[in-house]
């Protein structure tokens, strides 16, 4: 399978930092069909490295569609299976609104459904 995100890497950047067992993933750019695989892989790596939890900073994300959302939900699922917490700690208005309209905001920000 071909990862289109690698060709279109300019659309999205991911920076990962680790402290006290928590892996912080900072996502910048557009999260769509072309970049979802890269995000999914980065989140899977973060889950693999974390000891207590994964925190995702989406403040720098300008666009999020259903495929981007599925990458976040898969990351959350993997974290839960590994006994870790998973939380989106920041998101801009555009991105937050999409997550609210599709009903995933409480789950992904760790409010409710816990």
């Amino acid at each position: 399978m071909i990862s289109r995100s690698a060709e279109r890497g300019e659309l999205m950047d991911i920076a990962t930092t680790q402290r006290d067992g928590t892996v912080a993933v900072k996502v910048t750019g557009d999260v769509d069909l072309l970049s979802r695989e890269l995000l999914a892989r980065s989140l899977a790596d973060a889950v693999g490295q974390a000891e207590s939890g994964v925190e995702v900073d989406m403040a720098g994300v300008a666009f999020l569609d259903s495929s981007g959302m599925s990458a976040l939900l898969s990351g959350r699922r993997a974290a839960e299976d590994a006994g870790l917490t998973f939380r989106i700690i920041a998101a801009g208005d555009l991105v937050r609104r999409v997550m609210e309209l599709t009903g995933v905001w409480p789950l992904l920000t760790g409010q409710g459904h816990e």
Partner: protein, 400 residues
């Protein structure tokens, strides 16, 4: 770098970088590359295996020597055997003397192949296959041999990519067409129309619509979006679509149907994620019951209204997101002339624009007309003069 080496090496490199090869179709190019590789390295077997779309198995794409008689029927699980190890690690591998368990191919084992060398085929940073060679007589493959294999693998990667994209595109479109008929069935009491528009950037994705009538006289309306694109997500979409139909035969409660579908996805499609809105129209066409799983709200167009409004309903989690997610229903009383529009996010989401603005534009652009006009108004208004990056699916309904 090569100038200081044996002129023979230069010839070897020329043989596999030959510009003439570019004129060959992908399959012929792979065969030619593998034949030349076998001759140049003087080995007994040379094979290119490519990863299948699921990423679980390597399938022989071209082979010369010992495995030729097998008619390209070798499939190697990822991580198993020599090729499986190369694919899993993404690194070259040389074994001067193979031992029990190093090989997977029965042909190589039966012929007592002793020495193996292999390199990954990499495209855009991802392993898409493996090129491996082997000899019956013991041999120590050199750095130069590996370098040549890498050159061939690069060349094969480009061809494999072209072949895969072409085959995938044709297969995906054929599958999509068979699953998404251009015309909905004629159903008494309902006027219906559908649209599917592939994305310009990503081609065919996992969006789907479905419209079916049940023996009880109820009618099911479905819009959904399976994450991902290409053949793999179209295949998953096909299975989810069929499963929903099967559960719809068992229950007219849309939350019940989506709960069963969710359970099926969690169990049999691990890792898959989908959003969906499912509506059931009663046999007398006086009410419609909805259940929404992580999907954008359907639009309601009251009879004679100048614009649409979003259905007032709770949205539950997408399918595949959480085991045993709570699912709710909302029932809407309807009368003749009322319009409904179900759509996927590609219709209203635009880069650097609020989704609320996109939805507002959709709502304000809808007026009277039949189902066909409803779909036309939605797509023309929203996609006018714009290259759509994501794919878009739309179902329009008018109560007669």
């Amino acid at each position: 770098m090569t100038t200081s080496r044996d002129p023979e090496i230069l010839d070897r490199i020329r043989a596999v970088t030959d510009a003439e090869l570019s004129h060959l179709p992908a399959d012929a190019l792979l065969s030619e590359l593998i034949t030349r590789t076998k001759l140049l390295l003087n080995v007994d077997t040379a094979t290119i295996l490519l990863l299948d779309p699921s990423g679980h198995e390597l399938i022989t794409a071209a082979t010369a020597g010992l495995e030729e008689e097998l008619q390209l029927d070798i499939r190697v699980p990822m991580g198993v055997g020599f090729a499986g190890r190369v694919a899993a690690s993404g690194e070259p591998l040389v074994i001067d003397r193979v031992s029990h368990g190093d090989l997977y191919s029965p042909v190589l084992i039966d012929n007592h192949v002793t020495s193996m060398a292999g390199v990954p085929v990499i495209v855009a940073g991802r392993v898409v296959g493996v090129l491996r060679v082997g000899t019956i007589e013991p041999r120590s493959f050199t750095e130069d041999d590996i370098e040549l294999l890498r050159l061939v693998a690069d060349r094969a990667g480009v061809a494999a990519h072209a072949r895969l994209s072409q085959t995938e595109r044709v297969a995906t479109l054929a599958l999509q067409r068979s699953l998404l008929p251009a015309r909905p069935p004629q159903i008494a009491g309902l006027d219906m129309a559908v649209r599917y528009i592939p994305g310009a950037e990503v081609g065919v994705g996992g969006d789907w619509y479905d419209v079916f009538s049940l023996p009880s006289g109820h009618v099911g309306l479905v819009i959904g979006d399976v994450a991902g694109n290409g053949l793999q997500s179209a295949v998953v979409m096909g299975r989810i679509r069929s499963a929903l139909r099967a559960y719809a035969l068992e229950s007219v409660d849309p939350a019940d149907v989506l709960t069963r579908l969710d359970r099926k996805i969690q169990l049999f499609e691990p890792g898959a994620m989908a959003t969906a809105a499912y509506a059931v129209v009663t046999p007398d066409r006086t009410s419609v019951t909805f259940s929404v799983a992580g999907h954008l709200m359907p639009v309601v167009l009251e009879p004679g209204a100048a614009r649409g409004h979003l259905l007032e309903a709770p949205v539950d989690l997408p399918l595949g997101a959480l085991p045993d997610a709570d699912r709710r229903i909302t029932t809407l009383a309807v009368s003749p002339g009322l319009g409904l529009l179900l759509y996927t996010d590609g219709l209203v989401e635009r880069r650097r624009q609020s989704i609320d603005d996109g939805i507002e534009k959709l709502l304000s652009g809808l007026t009277g007309g039949d189902a066909e006009e409803l779909c036309a108004a939605a797509t023309a208004n929203m996609l006018h003069n714009e290259a759509v990056s994501d794919d878009v699916a739309v179902v329009g309904v008018r109560i007669r």
